[in-house]
Structure formats: structure tokens, C-alpha cells
Symmetry: C2
Subunit: 302 residues, 2 copies
């Protein structure tokens, strides 16, 4: 790969660029990273930080002879970016993305790209930080992190392997799921917890005693609500994009809370303890499993 | 204070003992820490670790000429411990506790102690770790941490000041609330979040795909669910003890989730963003405030 185009040169796209540059041992092979974005200020900053080599004068220029295109913009912009790309999408170019939801991205890509859909390999790097923008980009963001690819039936194995290889160069571990599996899983373990954390902080903030209450919140509350410090715009988009799976999780959780209400009202300590114990045990097993996996990764690479 | 009796020589009681010993600059003044508990193994361990000076042969012996008694056992045992203490409670002895709920402790103390109620000053140190037992006790657990006292109308100012002074020797910052205020506040910022975290982990653990889902859970999920790693028995007791306030929080939260459901179903991005933004801003303001307070404490003591 020689020419890589990145739409969105912030944390995700910028870190991808930095990692690829670092992995490119021989600068003479001429890896060229081209930035595209809505904000000229971000593009100039990414150029100054050495994240990108050039700012594209136009999408047409960016796409000419591109080997790989990464769309690393907010997921709600994916369709618009694909629309801008499509007229200039050459046969040899592979397009991938970094969106947190995949069913909607697949649907948008099918609608926009039509018979070029085989060139689009959807992906989702499971990495993030609380900060954003080109200044947040770091070379080692993806080391040891999962990247989930959700290949489409139309993708060639070769193209999927190329996208996987680029992420592996960044240090990532490649997983594959269907877009639907991806969205169900991430609704449960990521999107829905964000919604719960936002809902709780909003609830406390709306109380007349909010200031006093926050004064007594301690480290447990701080950790529980850390994800409520995330970008509201980004999570609005993710919530809407994955609302089908989110509504499923929400229904089950509403039933859980009703169960807890009945147990509290009945003073049923054994019933409460059964739920708490099941959760504690499951979390303990999970932590044990990830710590063991982290150890193996450190010892044996990925 | 010369003779201090501790019921429950684990994390909370043991750390209190260690901090008082460390603060007692002149060992010749003869501070004596006496341990009482249900588990002889824990008491022996606390003795071996130098947390306590002696194991009481009986409650009667422990209570003889005691200056201060700290009840640091699971909150559900408070009434039984007060009952065992009451016959031997001398006029000069002050009793306090470390329970996470206060209205129920006040009610139990009134029922058990009767006209000796003035000698009981309820308290709650806001400090903890995930581990328990005498081995978890550390000398600096309370440094910079809040201890909430919820004095009763019958308490003398002098007795409240003595309990406060003991905690200040451990490095804690003293706050005062009514038992009802205490329970409402901690329901919102501690007890209810624990219930939500347990409910979510239980929900995922009960899915047929649980193993795959946990595999993709990342650091946001880990932080959000950290409190679901807490002791199920302890949180069963707290949930029951504070169920009135918990049911209040639960009702508001159930309405929040219904609101989120309607917004998702309607695809109302602006409505979702309004809740998420309010939460993000409130959390940001809170974090800024506590970081500024921590800085002041470091600079100027408490």
C-alpha cells in the first residue's frame, strides 16, 4: 500500500496514520497519507503534527490511485462521505471505516455504492480515549486492541486480508463478526451502558439537592459514570444508528428493574442476593479471563 | 481516650485501629485497642498483624471502662451487637458505628438502647476497597476521606466532638448530615448505582451469547461495572436497610428509561442529546469541583 486516504484526522484516524507511519520501516517506499476533513484547522494541525503528509485539495484528488481509504468521521457522516467518494472510487481502491455501529453503515454503503459494494470492508477498532482531535492521536492507540471487521458477502478474501493487515501493522488483534452480531454485542456491552450512565447523572443533576449529592459521590460513582463524560453528539448518533438493538437491551433491563422493585418492596433479601451474586461471579470470571488473555498477548504476541 | 473497642476487625475497623495507633505518638500513654468479633480466626489474625492489642474474652470484659466503641460489622448485625453491648454500657462510654445506612441504624439503636441513646453517635466513613478482612486493613485508608456523622438530638456536643476527633486522628474530614439526608444522598450516588451495575452484569450473564459478549467488553464496561464486583451480602443488606430511598431513586430512573425509550422509538436525536449533554456537563463540573477540592486539601490540610 502506498497511498492511504483518511477522512477525519482526529483520535481514530490520526492514530491509525501515526501507527502506519511508524510501522513503515523504510520511508523510501513512499507511503503517502492524505487527509480529508470538514475542518481546515484540524487538517492543518494534523499536517503540522506529522500525522498526514498532505491535505487533499479535493475528494477527486484524494481518491486518485488510493490504495486504502479509512472513514474515521462520526458515524452519522458515513453516508455523506461515501456519496462524495463514489464517483471517484477506482477499481483498485479498498474503503473501510471505523464506525461504532455496523448494520447502519452496511445499509448506507449498499445504498450509496451500489455495484461497488464489494470494495467496502466495514470495520470497528475497539479503542478510544476521552480526548479527541488530531492532538489526541497517539502512535500506540491500537497496540493489543481488538479491531472487529464485519466483512460483506461481496468482499473478496484478499481485500479483507489487506484491511486486516493494515490494522495488524498498527498492533491490533483482528476479529470478525457479522454486522448484526457486532451491533447486538456492542449494544449490550457498550452502547447501553453509556445510556444508563447518562440517564443516572442526568437524574441526579436534575435534583434540587444536586450539589450536595455530588459532594458525597465517591470513587465508585466516578468509575460508574466515567462513560457519561463521553461526547453527547457521538453517542446520540450511535444510539440512533443502533436503536433496534438498544431497544432490545432496554426492554430486558426494564424488566430487570421491575424485578428489583418487587424484591425491594417484598424485602426479599435472598432474591436480591441471587442477582447480585450472579453478577459478581460473572464479572469476576470475566476479569480473570481478560487478565489471562492480556498476559498471553504480552508473552506470545497476537 | 485510652480504651477503644472495635466490633469487626476487618477493612473498616482494622484500618481505624491502625490509624489511631499510628497517630498515638507516645505509646506510654497506653492506648489499648480491644477486638470483638464472630470469627476467632479474624481476631487472631488482627492480633498477629498488630491491629488490636487484645481479643476480648467477653463483651462484658470488652465494655468495662471503654472510652469509645466502634461497630464496624455488616450493617445487618448492628442491632444484635447493640443488644449485646447494652447491659454493660457504662455512662462514660461513647458508641459509634461505620454502617453505610443511617436511618435504620438510628431506629435499631433507639429500640435497643432506650434511655442510653444519647451515648450513640452514628457515623459513616466514606472509604473502602474491594478487599476485606484484617489483611485488607491499611493505616492510611481514611486520609483525606469524608466521614459523615449523623448526630442524634440526644447526643451531647462533647460526645460528637470526641467521635469526630478520633476520625480526624485517622486523617478524615468530618461532615454532618441528618440520618435521612444521609440515606437519600447515598441512595442516589452509591446504593442505587450498585443496583444498576449488578442488574446490567446479571442481564448479560444470563444471555446465551454471554461469553462472546464479555469478550468484547472494554475499559468503559470495566469501569461501569467495577462496583458490581462488591460483596453481594453487604449490598443485599444495604439495599434492604435503605429500601425506602432506593425505591424513590428507582421510580425516577424507571421514568428516565421510559423517556429514553420514547426518544429512541421516535428517532429523536435532539431529545437524546439534551439528556446526554446535561449529564456530561454535570459530570464535568463535578470532576472539576472535586479535583479543585483535592488540591486544596493537599495544600492546606483539612
Amino acid at each position: 500500500m502506498k497511498k492511504i486516504v483518511i477522512f477525519g484526522v482526529g483520535l481514530i484516524g490520526g492514530s491509525f496514520a501515526l501507527a502506519l507511519k511508524a510501522a513503515n520501516k523504510n520511508p523510501k517506499t513512499g507511503l503517502q497519507i492524505v487527509g480529508v476533513g470538514r475542518s481546515q484547522a484540524s487538517l492543518q494541525r494534523a499536517l503540522a503534527l506529522g500525522i498526514i503528509d498532505t491535505i487533499a485539495a479535493s475528494v477527486e484528488e484524494a481518491m486518485a490511485d488510493a490504495d486504502l481509504v479509512l472513514i474515521a468521521a462520526p458515524v452519522a457522516q458515513t453516508a455523506a462521505i461515501l456519496t462524495s467518494i463514489c464517483p471517484y472510487l477506482q477499481a483498485g481502491t479498498i474503503v473501510t471505516d471505523a464506525g461504532s455501529t455496523k448494520s447502519d453503515v452496511e445499509a448506507a454503503a449498499r445504498a450509496v455504492l451500489g455495484n461497488k459494494i464489494a470494495q467496502f470492508v466495514p470495520g470497528h477498532p475497539i479503542a478510544g480515549r476521552e480526548s479527541n482531535g488530531p492532538d489526541a492521536a497517539i502512535v500506540d492507540l491500537y497496540i493489543g486492541k481488538k479491531v472487529v471487521l464485519t466483512p460483506l458477502p461481496e468482499n473478496t478474501a484478499e481485500d479483507v486480508a489487506k484491511v486486516a493487515a493494515a490494522w495488524r501493522l498498527c498492533g491490533a488483534i483482528i476479529h470478525q463478526l457479522s454486522p448484526q452480531q457486532h451491533d447486538e454485542i456492542f449494544a449490550a456491552v457498550s452502547h447501553f451502558p453509556h445510556m444508563l450512565a447518562y440517564a443516572l447523572v442526568d437524574q441526579i443533576a436534575n435534583k434540587s439537592q444536586a450539589d450536595v449529592m455530588f459532594q458525597y459521590a465517591a470513587s465508585g460513582f466516578r468509575d460508574f459514570t466515567r462513560i457519561a463524560g463521553s461526547s453527547p453528539e457521538m453517542w446520540r448518533d450511535i444510539s440512533l444508528a443502533n436503536r433496534h438493538a438498544l431497544l432490545g437491551e432496554l426492554s430486558v433491563y426494564q424488566a430487570q428493574l421491575m424485578r428489583l422493585r418487587h424484591l425491594l418492596e417484598a424485602g426479599d433479601g435472598a432474591g436480591l442476593e441471587a442477582i447480585y451474586s450472579n453478577a459478581q461471579q460473572a464479572r469476576h470470571d470475566w476479569i480473570t479471563a481478560i487478565e489471562s488473555a492480556e498476559k498471553q498477548n504480552k508473552e506470545g504476541g497476537n
